[in-house]
Amino acid sequence: MRKAVSFIPEPEAHEFLDNFRAQARKLLARFRIPAQDAEDLLQDTLLLYLDCNPDVPCVESWLQGTLKNRCLVYWRERRRQFYQTMDLALLDSLAEPTAPSQEHRIYLDEVISHLDHLTGPCASLLKLRYQSDFKPSQLADRLGYGRRGIYKILERCVAALSRRLLVARRRPV
């Protein structure tokens, strides 16, 4: 069971809250967290503090560290959700049954040519994924990756492909 919770006496609570309030505002702004999402991150942080009652020398530093971590997780989650969307969209687009076969073949060739610009392991992995519709576990077995790590590897490869498709490249001078 978790540790018993001890409340902070009121006056001290206000003092620590005022200090943390100012630090948190700066931190949230630095990480560019939208105001509407900031409330959730702050609530998680403050609740964690109240619930765990961490035995640390400086509560404010602990709170700052926890909030910073929440901010990092926030953007990591945003990226992960985007890569999942991208992966599914690519799978859907390649499985589209109504497209005329010639058009579909051209599209597939275009996708492959993008994959050929990625590094070797990513290209092989994504070709199996998008050409042969391999599931992550099948990718792991075929390419000799651990089943635990394949999701992370797939995510990195989709990230590389997404950058290639979505981020405008500078023209060579």
């Binding site: 939208p34 609530q43 926890t66 969307t85 859907d92 089943r147 979505l166």
Partner: protein, 452 residues
């Protein structure tokens, strides 16, 4: 390029807000290499995906958010306090029901879908794992079911993610004990995904690493387990939790034991003994001391083993656990055998074997029977060796010992009968029986056992 999607639609695509079936048209357009749309998506990439060019709010914009978050955190904290008060009663009420109804209850009754009850079941599973893997797995299974259904608005997303990670990691550890390694690995994957969405609290990460190390050791992936254990040690050192650091040492010693590196194990177990807090967890202290005596015997350091045995007897006596006392007698038999006191070894092994038969613990009956067989064979008593093995085989069948283990024992009994047995063969048979215990897919092969 014709038919450009609007910037609003591109934004919806990148935030996952498009209706199903609308994305393929956009992705086709982007794959074709539209440079005009790429300007828009480049900007959206920096705003929505990396956040580098996201709007930077003025600190004042967060003012209201802070106050609301503080009020809400206090409300949830109070709610948790109340729920914790009732969690014990709810847990007792739940566990009095038959197992199938327990599961239905946690699935369908909202009273049971609380964070404190989930935490209580996790703790219950951790306590049961020593004695009853099936119960530990059942409790963890219910905990993960509750965790998956927890209301994120009520407790906050990150705290729920931590609870889910903990429940799944506990479940992984429990099913590992029942030798279901595939399921344990799947559960760890889920735990890892939840952990990444959690609060980032190192204690939560440590719980995951603990289960991961256990599964890796059982799977024989010792080097990988050392990586997990090093991370675990770093966390506990930073947190200053010496007892948990001691538990990590105990695990490391177990991994080395699996590799047969007994000498390397000794300093690690000695360190574990210094770090473990007997008040906080008396059983681990016994485990560390017991394992230390085992490796000292295996390394031929019998005087040291004798010295530690005195302390071990005292600690076991204080605990008074019948099963552990039996294991102590077994260990005393092994020490007697190592010291060539064959009569004492025979008496102790026979006593322990009869007690395990009485307790119906098949695997231990098999292993101690093999120890007994080795002592008898060492005394040149071939007929007695054969007789003891012969009488053990039907008992093992009745106690549900794996058929492959029984086949290996029957092969050994035959080898004694035709006088081709050796000490090595007896030990290889014991090693195989141990392997079958942690790997039910292992198959008996006479060639593998005899090395011919």
């Amino acid at each position: 390029m014709p038919g450009h999607p609007s910037s609003q639609r591109l934004e919806l695509f990148m935030t996952g807000g498009l209706a199903p079936g609308e994305s393929p048209a956009i992705i086709r357009h982007l794959v074709a290499g539209c440079s005009e749309c790429a300007k828009t998506t480049s900007h959206l990439w920096e705003v929505l995906v990396t956040g580098r060019k996201a709007h930077r709010p003025a600190p004042e914009e967060y003012e209201g958010a802070f106050d609301r978050a503080w009020v809400r955190a206090q409300e949830v904290h109070e709610l948790l306090r109340l729920e914790r008060e009732t969690a014990k009663t709810l847990s007792q009420e739940l566990l009095e029901l038959p197992p199938r109804r327990q599961r239905l209850r946690v699935r369908n009754d909202r009273r049971y879908q609380t964070l404190p009850l989930c935490q209580a079941l996790i703790e219950g599973s951790k306590s049961a794992i020593f004695d009853d893997a099936a119960t530990a797995s059942h409790l963890a299974d219910m905990a993960r079911e509750i965790a998956d259904d927890l209301d994120t608005h009520r407790y906050g997303e990150a705290i729920v993610a931590d609870a889910r990670a903990d429940a799944w990691a506990t479940y992984a550890n429990a099913v590992r004990e029942t030798s279901d390694f595939e399921q344990a690995e799947d559960a760890l994957r889920t735990a890892r995904a939840h952990l990444e969405e959690g609060t980032g609290n190192p204690e939560e990460k440590a719980k995951y690493l603990n289960s991961l190390a256990n599964v890796l050791i059982e799977r024989g992936r010792i080097e990988d387990s050392f990586v997990a254990l090093r991370k675990l040690e770093a966390i506990y050192s930073k947190l200053g939790d010496l007892h948990m650091l001691g538990r990590a040492q105990l695990k490391k010693a177990f991994a080395l034991h699996k590799q047969g590196h007994f000498e390397q194990e000794i300093p690690i177990l000695n360190r574990a003994l210094k770090l473990l807090d007997p008040v906080r967890d008396p059983r681990r202290q016994v485990v560390a001391l017991h394992n230390l005596v085992v490796v000292l015997i295996a390394s031929g350091r019998l005087e040291e083993a004798d010295r530690h045995m005195i302390k071990l007897r005292r600690t076991h006596a204080e605990q008074g656990d019948r099963l552990n006392l039996l294991r102590l007698r077994w260990l005393e038999g092994e020490l007697a055998y190592a010291k060539d006191d064959l009569d004492l070894a025979e008496r102790l092994f026979a006593e322990v074997r009869n007690a395990f038969i009485e307790l119906e613990i098949g695997i231990d009956v098999a292993l101690v029977s093999l120890d007994l067989a080795e002592v008898l064979w060492h005394q040149g008593r071939g007929q007695d060796t054969q007789a003891r093995l012969q009488e053990a085989i039907p008992i093992l069948g009745a106690l549900g010992v794996h058929a492959e283990a029984i086949a290996a024992m029957a092969f050994l009994e035959h080898a004694v009968r035709v006088e081709t047995v050796s000490r090595e063969l007896i030990r290889q048979t014991a090693a195989f029986v141990r392997r079958v215990q942690s790997d039910p897919t292992a198959r008996f092969s006479a060639t593998e056992l005899t090395g011919r």
